[in-house]
Structure formats: structure tokens, C-alpha cells
């Protein structure tokens, strides 16, 4: 078993699937000779050839559009968008075609594509490189939105995304690409989509997070433990469709919930989770549900980005307040 960073795990998953399934191909900007700006596709063109690892023209809308066409004809394209700030031109193709081709044709044509993109803030990148637009995609019926929080989850979830018969938006937290390494067996074993992961068991409060925010959330859990507060941590992993049952089971046990995300607060995906809890588990609650999210502001340039990303202190503060009750 090898120690892999998250970006290396992405690379291994892509390589594994390309080796076992010749219908898988990669396309995107600078992914070939250069191996991608984050090196997620490093070495793959040399190994699998220019026909299966395609350097495209700089046109994100067409990257998504040709992926739809390829997928409809039986290929499994994995398209890379260089940064999520450049993902918006794909929205036309994702909402109007990728997500609904199966439905529009009553299953005659399908769209088994993956749209990968580095995602989120925290690496001192230039403007338009730090967005967290998962809620935009989660609002599109027919899509899956998957966000890994560790090298092992990136490996297993990306394999599952490539094997899924429907389109998947796979958002890879840039902040985690090289933050830490983890033992990952390159054995082709996928992890389940549409399922939350219980990352830490606890009895006092439920913390719900995904992607890079799992770092701050788990750190907050450690800090709270030192204060005698025993929290449960759920890694949502698949934002859409949401495995709400796992969250409800936990909230029914703990009676308290704090939802943490890096995207802006208003109409962020945390609102959806909070609404589900309000509808289905209100009477299990001992305190109001709290959200710890980015402010409803434009992602700041690098000097302020640490104040934008919800901090461990903010999470701890929110948990303390729900522990105090209403």
C-alpha cells in the first residue's frame, strides 16, 4: 500500500480505470504533456496515448459539450476543468444536456461522463480560482455532485464516479491536493456514491461537512473533545443525491447539528440539509440547527482568504452555542 496525496490518489484512480476500461478517456486543458496544472493527470498521456488523454482547445463549454457527445456514443469521458472559476461556461451543457439526456430520450441515450475540477479556496491562488459552486450543480436534477475529503475517498469515489452510468460533477478540494498523505491501496475498489461517511462517532452534537472543510471540522472535534464535548462528524461526500437518512439518524441521536461549508451561506447546500432536519427531525432537536459557512461575499484575494474560509474557532464557537441550548 502506498502513501498518496489526494492529487496522487486522483491520478491512480484515473490510471486504474483507464487500464481496465478502454472506453474511459480524459480531456481538458493542459492535461496531456503537462499532466494538468495540478499534475492530476501526470504521466497518463505517456502511458495511454494522445487519443485517450486529449489536450483540448481552451473552451470549457465545448469541453463539456463534446464530453456529452462522446458519452452518448458509449465512451466514458472524464473532462477536467482547470479551476472551478472557469466551470461556469459548462453549466449550459451540464444543466441542459448532461443531466437530462437520459430523461429526454426515455433512457435511449445516456451520459456517463465525469466533470472533474479543482475546487475551493486556501492555496493563495489568483482571482477566480477559489470558488465553491457545489450548490449550483446540486440544483440540477439528473446530476451527481461528489466531493472527496481525503486521498482514500478521492480514489474510491472517483472510481465510483467513472463507473456510474450517469453524469457526475467531481469537485476536488485544491487545499487538500498535497496537504497530507494517506495509505491508499491501488486495488480498484470503489467507495459508495449517494452515501454519507461517518468520520467520527460521538453523542453530543452532529457536525456535517464535506471536502476541505472536513479538516477544520475534525480539528474542531478534537478541540471540543478537550472541553468534554463528544461530537459526531459526517462527511457528506455525495452532495446530490443527498443521503439524508444518515444525517437524520445522527441528529436524532445527538439532538444537535452544526453544518459547515466553504461556500457562501445563503442558498448554500447547508440550507438544504437544515431544511430536511427541520422537516423530519425537528422534535429530536435540543437546540437550533446552526450553519458555519463562508460569508455571502465574493471570495477574497489571498490576503483575506483565511478569514473567508470558516475556521476551527468559528466551528467550535457554533458547537458551544448549540450545547448551551436555545
Amino acid at each position: 500500500m502506498a502513501e498518496l496525496s489526494l492529487v496522487e490518489a486522483v491520478n491512480r484512480a484515473l490510471a486504474y480505470e483507464m487500464a481496465v476500461d478502454e472506453s474511459v478517456l480524459l480531456l481538458g486543458e493542459d492535461i496531456g504533456v503537462n499532466g494538468g496544472v495540478f499534475r492530476a493527470t501526470n504521466g497518463l498521456q505517456a502511458r495511454f496515448g494522445r487519443e485517450r488523454v486529449i489536450d483540448t482547445p481552451l473552451a470549457e463549454g465545448a469541453i463539456a459539450g463534446v464530453a456529452v457527445g462522446m458519452a452518448a456514443m458509449g465512451l466514458k469521458p472524464v473532462a477536467e476543468i482547470q479551476f472551478t472559476g472557469f466551470i461556469y461556461p459548462t453549466i449550459d451543457q451540464m444543466i441542459n444536456h448532461a443531466s437530462r439526456l437520459r430523461n429526454r430520450t426515455r433512457g435511449r441515450l445516456t451520459c456517463p461522463m465525469v466533470l472533474r475540477s479543482p475546487y475551493g479556496a486556501g492555496i493563495h491562488a489568483p482571482e477566480h480560482h477559489s470558488e465553491s459552486p457545489e450548490a449550483l450543480f446540486a440544483h440540477m436534477p439528473g446530476l451527481r455532485v461528489v466531493i472527496p475529503s481525503s486521498p482514500a475517498r478521492a480514489y474510491g469515489l472517483l472510481l465510483a464516479a467513472m463507473r456510474d452510468p450517469d453524469p457526475v460533477v467531481f469537485l476536488e478540494p485544491t487545499r487538500l491536493y498535497r496537504l497530507f498523505k494517506q495509505e491508499v491501496a491501488d486495488d480498484g475498489e470503489s467507495l459508495p456514491l449517494d452515501a454519507c461517511f461517518l468520520s467520527r462517532e460521538g453523542k453530543d452534537a452532529t457536525l456535517v461537512a464535506w471536502g476541505a472543510m472536513m479538516q477544520e471540522t475534525l480539528a474542531a472535534a478534537d478541540a471540543l473533545e478537550r472541553e468534554g464535548v463528544d461530537v459526531e462528524v459526517i462527511d457528506v461526500a455525495t452532495i446530490k443525491p443527498l443521503d439524508v437518512e444518515t444525517i437524520l439518524r445522527s441528529v436524532e441521536k445527538t439532538g444537535r447539528c452544526v453544518i459547515i461549508h466553504e461556500a457562501p451561506r445563503t442558498a448554500g447546500f447547508g440550507a438544504e440539509i437544515a431544511a430536511e432536519i427541520a422537516e423530519r427531525a425537528l422534535f429530536s432537536l435540543l437546540a437550533p440547527v446552526k450553519r458555519v459557512a463562508a460569508y455571502d461575499v465574493v471570495v477574497p484575494l489571498s490576503r483575506l482568504e483565511r478569514q473567508y474560509i470558516p475556521s476551527v474557532d468559528r466551528i467550535v464557537d457554533a458547537v458551544r452555542s448549540v450545547m448551551e441550548g436555545p
Partner: protein
């Protein structure tokens, strides 16, 4: 055939039949009288269908419908040049082509009548469904063509886009990619002069739309889109070229939208009726009929029999369409994903509970 630096509409427009049906240059060897007769029948069939569809909409029996009146030669000519194994990525005004591919009239009516089952074509199962978001289908065509190229399959893709669509970024991006990849794709611009109320002159300052290919290294050709022989022969050559690995072709077919944009539009608000009357003198069906009669290949009797046959066929399709019961509420969920995620169970149940007659029922 080299790539021109421009496409000159005075000298480069491909045309065999003049508007009065006279030959302006010899018919190409690929076009026999027998072929022309089949194209004539197909155009007539599409036009009779078109008229009936509008009548159904006007009487509340069909939703909004996009007529192809006057543009039949573009769809029929291009689709006739395709092999069954090729793939069509249509716009939303291409039923004349889709009928050639085997889409039934009942399927077409179901689609415009508000039922997704109309896009579950019984034949040409790999053809894309209608594409409403303008120009987004061009990328699908390029992607599909690239799939065929990678798998070394002897197939090409034909897509249609309107003159308005060529102003859209999606058109340029996909055309550019097709050029780089030498994709086996034929992009046919159905230049009918109008994007709803916006005339061709307000869509682009380019002298021709065909020359938009020049900038991205894609051969552009301009063809009289009301001359079905010219459309057929030009698309045939482009498909042969695509199959031979020589890349994409952009074909601008000059035609005219004799009808409204759709049944929801009223073109008299923005278009001079005299202009439309003049364009009727150039329309594709009368033009070919005049030629065929002069050739001795067509007659009034044959015309009457064809009209009768088409009316009967359309009538049967209308009956089949009107007899199709609406799908139950489950149809909204059945094809959203390969397997409906459990997160949807509650919503599907709710839809069933509130559906007229209790819901359920697949479709």
C-alpha cells in the same frame, strides 16, 4: 478542394437547379432522376405534415411547433446523403431530416405534444433528440464524431444549426475543436434568414456564414438550400470526406423561413409580407416539381396520388398520437438516473399521491 480565404456568394454557391426548375449546370452523377423523385416525395411528405401540425396547434391539439416550411430541401437533402449508421444531431426544426432517418410522424407529434416518449425513436436509435438551446448541439456532434474516430468506426455525424446559432459561442467553440481534431462531422447551417425576428444581417457582418469555417481551418461551402440536389451532393461529398479521415466541413445552406418562427410567433410583426411573397418563387418543392415535369418524370396524376398518400399517412400518425395516453407521474422519475436514488422515494410517492387518478404508471 483547398480551403478558401473567403467564400464568395456570387461565384461559390453550389446550385444545379434554378428557381424556375431549369438546370443551371449539369446534374452531378450522384443525382439520378430516381433519387430526385424520392427526395421530392420526402419534401412533399414533410410539408404536408408541417401544415397538419400547425392546424393541430391552432385547434389546441398540439403544443408549440416549429415549422420547416420552405426549408424542406435542407433537411431532406442532407439526411438523404447519410448512411443509416451515421448519426444526426438536429436542432429543433429538422423533422424533414428526422423523417428520413426513420423518426415517425407520431413520434414527432408526441414530442411537440408534450411527451418525452416522442424522443425515444424506434429507429436511428443513436440520433440525438431535438436540441432547443441554440448551437449547443454542435459540440455533441463533434464529441460523437470523435468517439467514432477513436473507435475507427466508419461513421460520420451531421448536425444542423441556424443562422442565428452561428452567432453563438457554442458554435465557434465546437467548430474550432472539430477543426483541430479533424472530426468526421458535417455542420450544416440552415440559413433561413431569420432568428425569430432578427434578420441575418443583424447576426453577423460576415459576407457568408460558410466562411466562418475559414478562420478555424475548416472548409466552408455555400449551397443553395432550396436546391435539394445541391444540398444532397454537397453533404454527400462532405460525408465521404469525413469518412476518409479528412475532417469536418461547414456547409451554409441558403434557404428561407416562409413560416413563423414557431406557432407562438407572428412574423407579420417584423417582416414585410412582400418579401415573403418573393421568396415563395424560390421555394424548393415547386422548383424540383418543375424540373421533374420537364424531364417527364412527374405528372399531375402522380402529384395527386402522392398528396393523397401523404395526407393518409399524416392522418394515421395524428390518430396514433391523439390515442396515446399521457404517461403517469412516475414517468418524471423513471429516467432521471439509471436507478432512482432513494432520496427521490418521497418525492415520487408525493407525485403519485397528488396525480390525477392516483398517479403511478410508467412511460
Amino acid at each position: 478542394m483547398g480551403i478558401h480565404t473567403s467564400v464568395d456568394p456570387e461565384t461559390d454557391t453550389i446550385r444545379f437547379l434554378s428557381p424556375d426548375g431549369a438546370l443551371c449546370r449539369p446534374m452531378p452523377s450522384s443525382v439520378s432522376d430516381e433519387l430526385l423523385l424520392s427526395l421530392y416525395r420526402a419534401m412533399t411528405r414533410a410539408r404536408i405534415f408541417d401544415g397538419k401540425a400547425i392546424a393541430l396547434q391552432r385547434t389546441g391539439q398540439l403544443g408549440t411547433f416549429a415549422s420547416a416550411l420552405g426549408q424542406e430541401a435542407v433537411g431532406v437533402g442532407a439526411a438523404a446523403a447519410m448512411a443509416a449508421r451515421d448519426v444526426l444531431a438536429p436542432s429543433y426544426r429538422d423533422h424533414a431530416a428526422q423523417f428520413m432517418r426513420g423518426m415517425t410522424m407520431a413520434e414527432c407529434l408526441l414530442y411537440w405534444g408534450g411527451d418525452e416518449r416522442g424522443s425515444d425513436f424506434a429507429r436511428s436509435r443513436l440520433d440525438f433528440p431535438n436540441c432547443v438551446p441554440v448551437a449547443t448541439q454542435v459540440a455533441h456532434a463533434v464529441g460523437a464524431a470523435h468517439a467514432f474516430k477513436l473507435r475507427r468506426e466508419d461513421r460520420a455525424v451531421v448536425t444542423f444549426v441556424g443562422d442565428g446559432g452561428t452567432a453563438n459561442g457554442g458554435f465557434y467553440e465546437a467548430l474550432n475543436m472539430a477543426g483541430v481534431w479533424k472530426s468526421p462531422v458535417v455542420i450544416v447551417i440552415n440559413n433561413n434568414g431569420w432568428a425569430i425576428s432578427t434578420p441575418r444581417a443583424l447576426e453577423s457582418a460576415a459576407a457568408t456564414l460558410a466562411q466562418k469555417g475559414v478562420a478555424v481551418g475548416v472548409e466552408g461551402r455555400q449551397v443553395d438550400g432550396n436546391d435539394v440536389a445541391a444540398v444532397y451532393d454537397t453533404v454527400r461529398q462532405a460525408i465521404d470526406k469525413a469518412r476518409a479521415g479528412q475532417g469536418p466541413t461547414l456547409i451554409e445552406a441558403l434557404t428561407y423561413r416562409l413560416g413563423d418562427h414557431t406557432t407562438a410567433d407572428d412574423a407579420t410583426r417584423y417582416r414585410d409580407a412582400d418579401l415573403v411573397r418573393r421568396e415563395w418563387a424560390r421555394e424548393p418543392i415547386a422548383r424540383l416539381r418543375a424540373y421533374l415535369i420537364r424531364e417527364g418524370a412527374w405528372s399531375e396524376d402522380k402529384e395527386a396520388a402522392l398528396q393523397q398518400q401523404c395526407l393518409e399517412e399524416v392522418g394515421q400518425a395524428v390518430s396514433a398520437y391523439l390515442a396515446t395516453q399521457p404517461a403517469g407521474s412516475d414517468a418524471m422519475f423513471d429516467h432521471l438516473y439509471a436507478t432512482l436514488p432513494p432520496a427521490y422515494d418521497y418525492q415520487r410517492e408525493t407525485a403519485r399521491r397528488f396525480a390525477p387518478g392516483g398517479g403511478g404508471g410508467h412511460g
